[in-house]
Amino acid sequence: MKKIESEFIEELAANGGSSATLCFQCGTCTLKCPSAKFTAAWRPAHLMRAAQLGLKDMALQADALWQCTTCYTCVEWCPCNVQVVDVITALRNIVVANGELYENHRKVAQNLVELGHTIDNNDKIKSIRKELGLPENPQTVMDDAAAKADFDKVLNRTEFTKLVK
């Protein structure tokens, strides 16, 4: 038997996923979801059901949870105004807070910590930027140590640096 954890519903709401409770299982989100067509595991309506019932283990099943591209087609079509993408984001936040993160995603997160951007610059891009009359690095945290130090404080203060280590 699946285990119902009622405190999970509160945890979900605290993370911005309270609208899952509005779902009446019409299945429109799954029907319209492009990812549901291409992947075996992913059925957003099932996820909403698991979330609203407090079936924590079912809702947090990793592979299914990370198949959403956040295209918002489900949100456009939902007759109950369930903010499906916000529910998924909340579930993902709960998973990551438990220390579970795919290595590929951890790399993106660590880029943010290291560079202030999700991707690095490289020699090819630097030379193209130069040809175009642009500075080798964009005039962002990448090119401004004081701004990067400020950004680091934002990441530390919100415990991101620790979270994705």
Binding site: T70, C71, T118, I128, R129, V141, D144, L155, T158
Partner: protein
Amino acid sequence: MTKYAFFLGCIAPLRYPGIEKSTREVFKTLGVELVDMQGANCCPAPGVIKSFSKATWLAAAARNLALAEKEGLDIVTICNGCYGSLFDAAHELHENKEMLEDVNKVLAEIGLEYSGGTKVRHFAEILYNEVGIEKIKGAVKKPAEYNVAAFYGCHFLKPSKLKQLDDPENPKIIDELIEAVGAKSVLRKQKAKPICCGAGGGLRSQFGDAALKFTKTNLEIMKNANAEMIVDVCPFCHLQFDSGQKDSGYAFPVLHLSQLYGIAMGMDVKNLGINAHITPVKI
């Protein structure tokens, strides 16, 4: 307002600098002034970073919003991801005073404060709503007479209740913008509309094969409509189409709308940065 804080994001300046360059040139031609956002950080990416920590996402986005507010300017983005992230963050902080207070506690430590006043705009929507089709037509020097597949992506128009720009099921903004510079928008009257490019939400980085199924579905729709090239308004969609055609049998040149506009407004092809593209662009 014809002056905006220019938000670069990550993928445009660091993978397709021609998009940054073309945007600067096109806006200059059309009389829109861009002020660089010195020291800005990643938006941060809505699909990945927001999925990892909403608190970090909101505070880091608020830093960008506060930098623009300090200059008294609204933000213009050239990426749907940046637009989605910063627009949503601005909306949440405008609607939720408690969240705004929390975020300001973080910003106070770096000498910033955000009052909730920054508006976040997308460059395509500024072209459409502020510059206007007539002025754009007047700036065309060399009509871009191509059959173009317009690719809107997701976060430009959705969620439509928040964005309120166009009907995401049957949009027209990008089609009209493409046709304003002499191209034919071949998907406009088609029943089969493109879907998400597949890159977002961390799918591209973790489940790349699934992401490519999205891309190929779109490429098939574009081929059936006799498109000659893809024109997007998002560097992440751009990357997905440009890299995703490798070994696929398709070879559509992929241009960001700013690059198509650069061509039509007589910009030197050298300034489009097409040597950064993976799928060759022959113009």
